[in-house]
């Protein structure tokens, strides 16, 4: 054993000794007024700028929201929208015209928004099979997909309620008679496309039963390329949600009018859900979200206010910190 070894050994022993005797060196911060005020002010000085920057980013986002679920049902059918939407013989074409108020820089994201749609219902969330999505119908243990598991004793790919209820409204955008180029690629997470949905898995026996849910899938395209499905399969957290439909890769100028031709296929009338079409630009922060900025400013300013209140109170009834006269046995009211 060399000298340094021995020393190290001794060191370790003393460290262990200190540990067992509960005397390890420790930092013992005390909330002195200086610290308190510093911490509050510091919080304030962090949060107010952050909030303002966030707010600015959110304000820079331009967003157009258009509800179309009622407008897109022709007047005579509005009494019974459900039968309208379920009737295959009636064409579901519909046109909307959106006015662009502010310059929108590409990419402009197209979302569809559904309200009152419980994609987070436990029955719904559970009703999928990740293994089947990856491995195809070779994978049999799909009991989790109930009640959409088999049809005519044939497995369904993709199985489960989520896939079965796939959203199937379609949108085309026309500005000044020219169709806007809508990029519908790369709307899903890359990892989903690459690793979660099989490249060799093709839809099979899908929407073939008596009960037709939502959209159909092209059986010749592998699941990994069915990006609408992939987006849809990421169930939303709340009953009101937006999902990405595509991107417009051209700038829209203020006062442009965009005409949307849509196929109003999806049945939200049964449960009274709204359907909205959303066009939105995005900032570095994402979509339009004033709340985060406001909350930051609020927290920041309340912490500054706290600091000021504390400072004033402390100055008014100043308690010298570490003054033994405040020890209970030195106070008059103390009774032993």
């Amino acid at each position: 054993m060399t000298n340094t070894d021995r020393e190290r050994h001794r060191e370790r022993e003393t460290a262990f000794y200190l540990f067992t005797q509960q005397r390890l060196p420790a930092c013992k911060p005390v909330l002195t007024p200086a610290w308190v005020i510093t911490i509050f002010l510091f919080t304030g000085f962090i949060f107010i700028p952050v909030g303002l920057v966030t707010l600015r980013a959110s304000r820079s986002v331009v967003e157009i929201v258009e509800r179309y679920d009622t407008e897109c049902v022709p007047e005579p059918f509005r009494i019974d929208k459900v039968s309208y939407v379920q009737d295959d013989s009636i064409p579901k074409n519909c046109s909307l015209s959106l006015k662009v108020r502010k310059y929108m820089k590409a990419p402009i994201y197209i979302y569809y928004q559904l309200d009152n749609y419980y994609q987070n219902h436990r029955r719904y969330v559970k009703s999928r099979s990740d293994r089947q999505l990856l491995h195809g119908w070779k994978y049999h243990a799909t009991s989790s997909c109930q009640p959409v598991e088999f049809n005519n004793n044939q497995p369904i790919v993709p199985c489960g309620l989520i896939a079965w209820s796939l959203f199937n409204d379609t949108f085309t955008f026309i500005r000044e008679r020219a169709e806007l180029k809508v990029n519908r690629k790369n709307i899903a997470w890359k990892s989903d496309r690459d690793h979660k949905f099989g490249k060799t898995v093709y839809p099979f026996n899908f929407q073939n039963g008596t009960l037709i849910g939502g959209g159909k899938l092209n059986p010749r395209i592998p699941l990994s390329d069915q990006e609408d499905l992939i987006v849809w399969m990421r169930t939303s957290a709340l009953p009101s949600f937006r999902k990405l439909y595509g991107r417009i890769e051209e700038d829209l100028d203020a006062d442009d009018v965009v005409v949307v031709h849509l196929m109003n296929n999806y049945n939200t009338y049964g449960f009274g859900g709204k359907k909205k079409l959303v066009l939105s630009t995005s900032s570095w922060l994402g979509g339009k979200n004033d709340f985060l900025g406001l909350a930051c400013v609020f927290v920041g300013s309340s912490s500054v206010i706290l600091a000021i209140v504390f400072m004033l109170l402390h100055l008014k009834s100043r308690r010298p910190y570490g003054d033994p006269s405040y020890l209970p046995w030195n106070r008059k009211s103390f009774s032993g």
Binding site: P147, P239, G270, N289, W329
Partner: protein, 1215 residues
């Protein structure tokens, strides 16, 4: 052996007047033994007879274990599922196998199995230790008669009723025995019953005359006999039975019975017949089942669990009703759920069934409100805390090599809440050793060595006076530093001095009378006489130490031993005792040569607690008859003659001083007798002695009384009862910490009171309230009388105006028996609580337990019982916390205890440091736990409202599983194990800090609800901020919106941050361990996400690559985390900083002093605060010193006002 014979003969001689008269068997006939309760028949020396019913009695095997191999599993499981929470989790685990479960079954069963398994393993280990201890006792060896007069060794567990056993010196009796004969001719033997009743003096047992011949092995060849006696019962002091031998029936009484666990002393061997074995023996009958104790915090925790259960039930009901309503009215419209195709769990046509099924789901989903990991964490924390207690080097006793030991870890935090300490005396407070310290002879006080109390008082006075000087002269106080001597240092220096005086029992120092110098003093005659009284008036036997050539003494009480040692040191060496004479070697005679003198013993009137005096009548070598007497001062003073009061005034003064100094005193007196007077009295005395009948004792007393009068006072002695090391300081500190101390002792009242004095539980000027029972046959009368005494005393206390007045309650076991009855105990308790100290003497083990129970249940406060002997077992088990003193022979107390320490003084550190810490740690930890689980659990509930109450969780199963197990548990454990509000030194220096525990400042409902409110607030902030930030907008530049996985993960990140920052705010002590665990937990979360995101998506599902691809690149994720974390902790932060600023607690200020290093810069202030940091106490060393100072100051003030020269002294106070 030879010495024993002499002693035996001595005992039989005419000298022993009171205690040693043998009641002959003919005096009272055999007991009439019949009827229920007296069915036991023992065939002596025929153990085979006891192999069959109905004579088959219990074996001598004892077991104190809770379980055995067969019962362990069911019993331990029952214990475990006795806990409500465990039962709930059991239910949850069972249901988790069904599809109702919102989680996978493993995530429910694994934690439960872990918790229960851990607890059961602990139980098993503890029981195994008990079992090993039992085995040690059961396999002890004893000599048993085999056959044909041959004895052989047998294990204790094989000893049977009817066996003849031979027990040798210093062995324990293996069972309850009937004494047949002993190595002494007259069949007496000495027994030490310390393990039974805590009394240290030896007791004499004597065999029946008829069995005396059986004192050899061979004699038992053909010995038979039949004992008919009472059935097993717990009464230690009674025994009724008959012994049939040789067609004669003899009555047996307790003096022939040797009890298990007592010890044979000073007797070479005895023979005895086994009557009661194993659990039938009296000591085992006295043993109470060791109860499983739970700490106050844990019991309160149950209530909190109930509250949380109610919350859980309410939100589950809300959920399931909501679910049923949704299912019935809305779900038929939700075509995407295929409502027409459902099973019963989601059937809109059967909403009630679905609702009920969903209730089960909801109960499990919100189960995070009930912290299952709380129990695991608490177990782990407590085990670690216990190991810190075990390893504390400052509670390690180097002499015996015993560390402190937390034998159960259940009660660590209870140590911080103790209100009353019930202490045994002998072996706990004292070492049962007396030191001769001072004496007063002929009105002159000798002995310069001060007692502890005097020393400390002097020092304290010096400091105070110096303070005042400084204040008056406003001079810089530079001298102060050196002169500030702590009580501790004073006392420890005293200890060092003790080491210098090697003579056991003698720490007297005075050159005036040491080494023969007393010859030069005036009143040589009186001095000589008083030394002779010390050397002659006793019952001890000298023993020559062959090695040193000096004599040691075997005395009945240690006082007597101390007197003899003192006399020896003064030059009056008692070296021989015969049947009728006492021999003394006087080293310093007139001639200068040692002279042996013989004093003929004429009569000896022994010491009893009733007489409180001892008298011998001797004839010296000149034929002069002398009566020498020593006794309690009041008794002696009443019996002085007119011309015997010469030194009365001075002696009284000295006695008061001694008493004040905490010493036990005796007065010495003598009387010269005329021959005629003596012989006349002696005739009377002999007549009384030989008289037969019940009033013999009274007659004897009366006659003795006639002689013990007209005494001449010569002086007084002061003996210091050697306390164990550090006991007064410890009691002082404990008193300063606001603890009440009761002493429960099996000893005599006088001894107990003296100990009270020497450990400062009593002091001069304290009003002593003695409650005694009048001797009357009618129980009603006695009780009425006692009740009156209690009421009077209570009245007296109420009317007392002086705030410094202190009262002491002293009560005897006999009285206690009445007082502890239901109709009186409340009054007694009321009185006792008002008294500063309570001393119960002559209490039986059962009474100790009863008193403990009375205090525990009557006051509702936490009690701690400390003791060292088997007689303390009951009390140790009954108290909320039992502490055993290890390092003494008997281990029973330790075995029954929850904690064991080697010495009483370690109790201070155990309570004030470890108790304080553990209490705060556990309290904070439990509060935090509830906070954490509420903050987490409620977010699940809020989310339900957005999912149609369907039971979907926003978090991945794995997050939930890890939440309690990995991500938030380690920081809590570090809080529970390492948190220190102040360092251990400060804890000891400021004992008043301890009161935070008994006042329960850290675990009252206010605080608990505050934490719960904080949890509620945090849950709201975490959930709604996240929801609003993430719900519909794109959360990153790629335009994607957040799905459930992203939202859940973001929310969970916020939870991890908020909770860990919260615990960091809660802590005040950060070693690298805390830093590692807290910040490590957060890092672990990210690491987990990373790893979890990398495993196959078939396992991680939507969490696949979530951190790398979705969340980490999104600035909104990070800013949301920051925002939520700060928003969660801001109110708490404001709360603690405002609280510290405007309502600081004790430890806050001390932390600040330490933080600003004021203690280093201004150590004068530090010292002053330390000396003030105590509860106003009326007992203990400091209180005593204070009282003395008050008294002296009063004197001083009177002097000053009369002189009016100096400005009045103001008491030194710092504002």
């Amino acid at each position: 052996m030879a010495r024993g014979r002499i002693r035996a003969r001595l005992r039989r001689g005419h000298l022993y007047t009171f205690s040693c008269l043998r009641p002959s068997a003919t005096e009272e006939g055999p007991h009439s033994i019949e009827g229920p309760g007296y069915s036991r028949i023992v065939h002596c020396n025929q153990p085979l007879m006891h192999k069959r019913r109905p004579l088959k009695y219990r074996s001598n095997y004892i077991s104190t274990t809770k379980y055995n191999f067969a019962t362990f599993l069911p019993k331990a499981l029952y214990e475990q599922f006795h806990r409500v929470a465990n039962l709930y989790f059991l239910g949850a685990a069972i249901v988790s196998v069904s599809p109702l479960s919102p989680f996978s079954a493993v995530s429910m069963i694994a934690p439960l199995a872990f918790v229960v398994g851990l607890s059961m393993a602990k139980e098993a280990l503890e029981d195994w230790r008990r079992f090993m201890q039992d085995m040690k006792v059961n396999t002890r060896k004893v000599k048993v008669h085999k056959e044909e007069g041959l004895f052989g060794n047998k294990q204790w567990q094989q000893v049977q009723v009817g066996d003849v056993v031979k027990v040798e010196k210093d062995q324990f009796f293996p069972a309850d025995l009937l004494l047949l004969s002993s190595s002494y001719e007259d069949g007496i033997c000495y027994v030490e019953t310390m393990n039974l009743d805590g009394e240290t003096n030896l007791k004499v047992k004597r065999a029946l005359e008829v069995t005396l011949p059986f004192d050899e092995d061979e004699a038992f060849k053909n010995f038979t006999g039949i004992i008919k006696c009472e059935d097993p019962n717990p009464n230690l002091y009674t025994f009724i039975g008959n012994f049939e031998y040789d067609h004669q029936v003899y009555a047996l009484d307790p003096s022939q019975i040797l009890l298990r666990d007592s010890k044979l002393r000073n007797t070479a061997f005895i023979y005895g017949i086994v009557i009661f074995t194993g659990h039938d023996s009296k000591v085992m009958q006295n043993a109470t089942k060791s109860p499983s104790k739970r700490s106050r915090i844990e019991r309160k925790m149950d209530y909190i669990i109930y509250v949380l259960f109610s919350v859980l039930l309410v939100i589950s009901l809300v959920s399931s009703v909501g679910f049923a309503v949704r299912t019935k009215f809305y779900m038929p419209d939700w075509w995407y759920l295929q409502p027409q195709n459902t099973d019963d769990y989601y059937n809109p046509k059967k909403p009630v069934v679905s609702g009920v099924a969903h209730l089960v789901t909801a109960l499990m989903l919100y189960g995070y409100l009930i912290p299952i990991s709380l129990y695991v964490s608490i177990e782990v924390v407590k085990v670690l805390q216990a190991s810190f207690i075990n390893q504390d080097i400052q509670m390690y006793d180097e002499e015996t090599g015993n560390p402190a030991q937390a034998r159960t870890s259940n009660l660590n935090e209870e140590l911080g809440q103790v209100d009353t300490i019930l202490s045994d005396k002998t072996g706990t407070l004292t070492c049962n050793q007396m030191d001769f310290l001072k004496c007063s002879i002929a009105g002159t006080a000798y002995g310069v060595r001060p007692s502890e109390v005097e020393l400390a008082a002097a020092q304290q006075m010096a400091i105070d006076l110096e303070d005042q000087d400084a204040e008056r002269s406003t001079l810089p106080r530079q001298k102060g530093k050196q002169q500030e001597i702590e009580l501790e240092t004073v006392v420890t220096s005293k200890d060092e001095k003790d080491l210098k005086s090697p003579i056991k029992g003698f720490s007297f120092e005075d050159s005036r009378i040491m080494k023969g110098n007393w010859w030069k003093e005036p009143n040589v005659d009186v001095i000589m006489l008083s030394f002779r009284i010390l050397a002659i008036c006793h019952t001890a036997v000298p023993e020559l130490n062959e090695e040193t050539g000096s004599y040691t003494y075997e005395a009945e009480s240690p006082d007597e031993g101390a007197f003899l040692v003192a006399a020896r040191e003064f030059g009056f060496e008692f070296f021989k005792r015969t049947q009728s004479s006492v021999f003394i070697r006087e080293r310093y005679s007139a001639s200068g040569q040692p002279i042996d003198r013989e004093f003929k013993l004429l009569n000896m009137l022994e010491f009893t607690s009733k007489r409180k005096r001892m008298t011998v009548i001797v004839r010296d070598e000149d034929g002069q008859i002398l009566l020498l007497c020593k006794g309690a001062d009041s008794i002696i003073f009443d019996r002085l003659s007119k011309n015997g009061r010469l030194y009365l005034e001075d002696t009284t003064r000295h006695l008061n001083e001694y008493g004040e100094a905490g010493l036990r005193t005796l007065a010495l007196a003598y009387r010269k007798l005329e021959e005629s007077e003596y012989s006349a009295w002696n005739n009377e005395f002999q007549k009384a002695k030989t008289s037969i009948g019940a009033d013999r004792e009274t007659m004897l007393e009366k006659v003795a009384e006639m002689m013990e009068r007209d005494l001449i006072l010569v002086g007084a002695t002061a003996v210091e009862d050697k306390l164990q090391k550090g006991v007064p300081q410890c009691i002082d500190k404990l008193a300063q910490a606001g603890l009440k101390i009761w002493v429960l002792t099996g000893d005599k009242m006088e001894t107990a009171i003296n100990i009270g004095y020497s450990c400062s539980l009593l002091r001069q000027g304290m009003k002593q309230i003695c409650i005694t029972a009048i001797s009357s046959d009618a129980k009603e009368v006695v009780k009425e009388n006692i009740l009156m005494q209690i009421t009077n005393a209570s009245q007296m206390i109420k009317l007392e105006k002086d705030p410094h007045a202190a009262f002491a309650l002293i009560i005897e076991g006999k009285t206690l028996a009445y007082v502890l009855e239901d109709d009186m105990k409340q009054q007694f308790l009321g009185l006792a609580v008002d008294c500063a100290s309570v001393i119960c003497c002559r209490v039986s083990p059962k009474q100790k337990a009863l008193v403990t129970r009375l205090v525990k249940e009557g006051t509702g406060k936490t009690t701690l019982a400390i003791g060292d002997g088997a007689n303390d077992v009951g009390m140790i088990q009954e108290a909320d916390i039992g502490v055993g003193i290890s390092g003494v022979e008997g281990m029973q107390a330790v075995m029954a205890s929850d904690f064991s320490v080697a010495q009483f003084r370690f109790l201070e550190r155990l309570l004030v440091v470890h108790g304080h810490w553990c209490y705060k740690r556990i309290a904070q930890m439990v509060c935090y736990f509830f906070y954490k689980n509420i903050a987490f659990g409620l977010t699940l509930f809020y989310f339900e409202a957005f999912t149609g109450f369907s039971g979907q969780s926003v978090y991945d199963d794995w997050y939930m599983l890890l939440f309690n197990v990995v991500l938030t548990s380690l920081p809590v454990i570090s809080l529970g194990v390492f948190e220190q509000d102040v360092s251990s030194e400060v804890c000891l220096q400021f004992p008043a800090l301890y009161q935070q525990g008994p006042r329960n400042l850290f675990f009252d409902w206010y605080r608990i609800l505050g934490w719960m409110g904080n949890g509620l607030y945090s849950s709201l902030i975490i959930f709604f901020l996240n929801i609003i930030i993430f719900y519909d907008q794109a959360f990153c530049a790629g335009g994607q919106t957040a799905d459930m996985a992203a939202l859940g993960t973001a929310m969970f990140t916020c939870i991890i941050w908020a909770l860990n920052c919260q615990i960091a705010l809660t802590m005040s002590h950060f070693t690298w361990i805390q830093h590692l665990l807290i910040w490590g937990s957060i890092v672990t979360w990210y690491l987990f996400l990373l790893v979890y995101g990398m495993v196959s998506p078939t396992i991680s599902g939507n969490a696949y690559q979530i951190l790398v691809e979705a969340l980490a690149p999104a600035p909104i994720y990070w800013s949301a985390t920051l925002l939520v974390t700060v928003a969660c902790n801001l109110p708490y932060m404001a709360h603690i900083s405002f609280q510290r600023c405007f309502h600081p607690l004790d430890h806050h200020i001390i932390q600040e002093i330490k933080y600003y290093r004021k203690d280093v810069e201004d150590d004068r202030m530090w010292c002053r605060e330390r000396s003030k940091a105590r509860q106003k106490t009326k007992i203990g060393f400091t209180a005593r010193v204070d009282a003395k100072i008050r008294q002296l100051r009063g004197k001083l003030q009177r002097k000053q006002t009369s002189l009016e020269t100096l400005s009045p002294i103001t008491p030194s106070q710092c504002s």
